[in-house]
Symmetry: C2
Subunit: 312 residues, 2 copies
């Protein structure tokens, strides 16, 4: 496929086209994904999450610049309807982003959060594959809002960064229990504001707990608008990735992810077998009605459908 | 099955036993679920969510008492490791709970949040079925913490209640975007505290937005410890359920849920077909390794496995 060849050479327009195919559920999307698959798995995927207003996007821009200095190609995916990429930009952010979009080694893509979170996370996983295959070595996936997409992205990401800022208050803590478990690195951005000590104290609990990989989460102060703390943060991101490699976690997770991908594909293809036959679609719909009326339970219905499909 | 018969008569010990089977992934669990299935779908399922400290449990106790007065049997499921049911109880809560547990028409069950949220929500759905089948007419599912389980429970629940309290501050708003979308009813509990107006103002945005069903979310003030506002809240809960019935939403959702259940069962049974054969398990694991090494893409691997399984 010419599109895939161009994509693999790092052509941004080919990547944009491929992503459009994915978003439109185009039939060619599966072919593209299949063709690029062998070229994926090389990027370091970094999830960035935290409340709106903490300066996540500015932080990502600053990190992107820093990793460009380190000769890494950088992909950015924003999963956030209020993200500056999609129009809600402040002037400063637009200027910062403008510089980046002109850079051939940077690819920025925003994604809506239409549909349910499972759909978004799957679409995000596919877009990450495109950026990975086109040669982006560091990929930031930025999310905001409710916990579901954040948890989903954390499953895909190698390194999860939770961004806070001073003054968010103690009350928010309880809400964030799930997010605190996700973080490998906790960044207190806007650290020139009052209340840093209290924010650090709030986070201390999260940082005490070792991750299943054995990594002990770290805290860091930044002022992204002034590039303060960015070098240290980039170092820490690299340190975490090295840890994952050396501890064998990266490899373990790669196999786990492969297992999940095979299960998902198997499930999808098995479904197609059953549901591509018109007479079975009708029966599927009948059985749904019977289940809804509690005339049959889902497991018996599944067995019946498999029998009809000749899958003994 | 004697267990199921006792369960269907409303025997609490049989219900507890059935739930234990479910939690232990016991082989009998599927039989129990199949046997009780025709007797489910009658309960009004109410999700209760919101930050820790807002008094959700006290509110649930007060509502349970109110619905008992209305001659409804009440089930309570707490999905929260810090819930008073599981030991973190304040004395007042324990006393309130004590009265309820003695009532034959009330069944309380707490669930841990071990494992990932998908697992919890599936387990919760099964426990809800048990409570439903044993004749509980109103079932409260109380969650706390990060957004994922809340969103999952909201999918299962007919009516979703989001509990707030004065003084949580504006900063928390951004975090709650996902939760605000969930709510059918917003309760400002502890409404005797300062700052009620500001909390109501914060919520006003959430209440302006009509739900896909056409329901316009409502706000309500309560002081659960003094039973203030509880009658109105119970009325509103019944009003919402009536709305779902009259608008046809309840029926539409029932069919949607049946479809999801059949898909899940089909997927599960198809997997068993493939994975119950030892030679295919070996091949499955080989393919996982190949995918992890990017030597094969998941879709080609799925096709190969189906071919070997003789599912053409």
């Amino acid at each position: 496929m010419e599109l895939v060849e161009r994509l693999l050479r790092g052509d941004k327009r080919a990547a944009a086209k491929a992503i459009s195919l994915l978003e439109d559920y185009d039939k060619k999307a599966a072919d593209v994904l299949g063709a690029i698959y062998p070229h994926t798995g090389k990027a370091h995927i970094i999830g960035i999450t935290g409340p709106t207003g903490t300066g996540k996007s500015t932080l990502v821009f600053a990190l992107a610049k820093e990793f460009r200095k380190r000769d890494k190609k950088v992909g950015i995916i924003a999963i956030d309807p209020t993200s500056p990429y999609t129009g809600g930009a402040l002037l400063g952010d637009r200027i910062r982003m403008g510089n980046l979009t002109l850079d051939e080694g940077v690819f920025i893509r925003s994604m809506g959060t239409r549909g349910h979170a499972g759909g978004t996370s799957r679409a995000t996983a596919d877009v990450i594959k495109v950026l990975d295959a086109m040669g982006m070595q560091i990929i930031f996936a930025e999310t905001a809002g409710a916990g579901q997409s954040e948890v989903d992205i954390a499953r895909i990401a190698h390194t999860s960064i939770v961004v806070e800022m001073p003054g968010l208050g103690d009350d928010i803590q309880a809400m964030k229990a799930g997010i605190l478990e996700i973080g490998d690195i906790f960044v207190v951005n806007k650290a020139d504001l009052d209340g840093v000590d209290s924010t650090l104290a709030n986070l201390s609990l999260a940082v005490e707990r070792e991750k299943p990989s054995g990594w002990k989460p770290k805290m860091l102060l930044t002022v992204a608008t002034e590039d303060k703390g960015i070098t240290d943060l980039a170092d820490l991101i690299e340190e975490h990735y090295d840890f994952l490699k050396e501890s064998g976690t990266l490899e373990t997770e790669r196999v786990e992810r492969a297992k999940e991908e095979l299960r998902a594909a198997l499930s999808q293809h098995l479904f197609l077998r059953v549901l591509e036959r018109p007479e079975l679609i009708g029966e599927f719909n009948n059985l749904v009605q019977m289940i809804a009326k509690k005339e049959m339970d889902p497991h018996s219905a599944a067995e019946k459908l498999l029998g009809l499909a000749g899958i003994a």
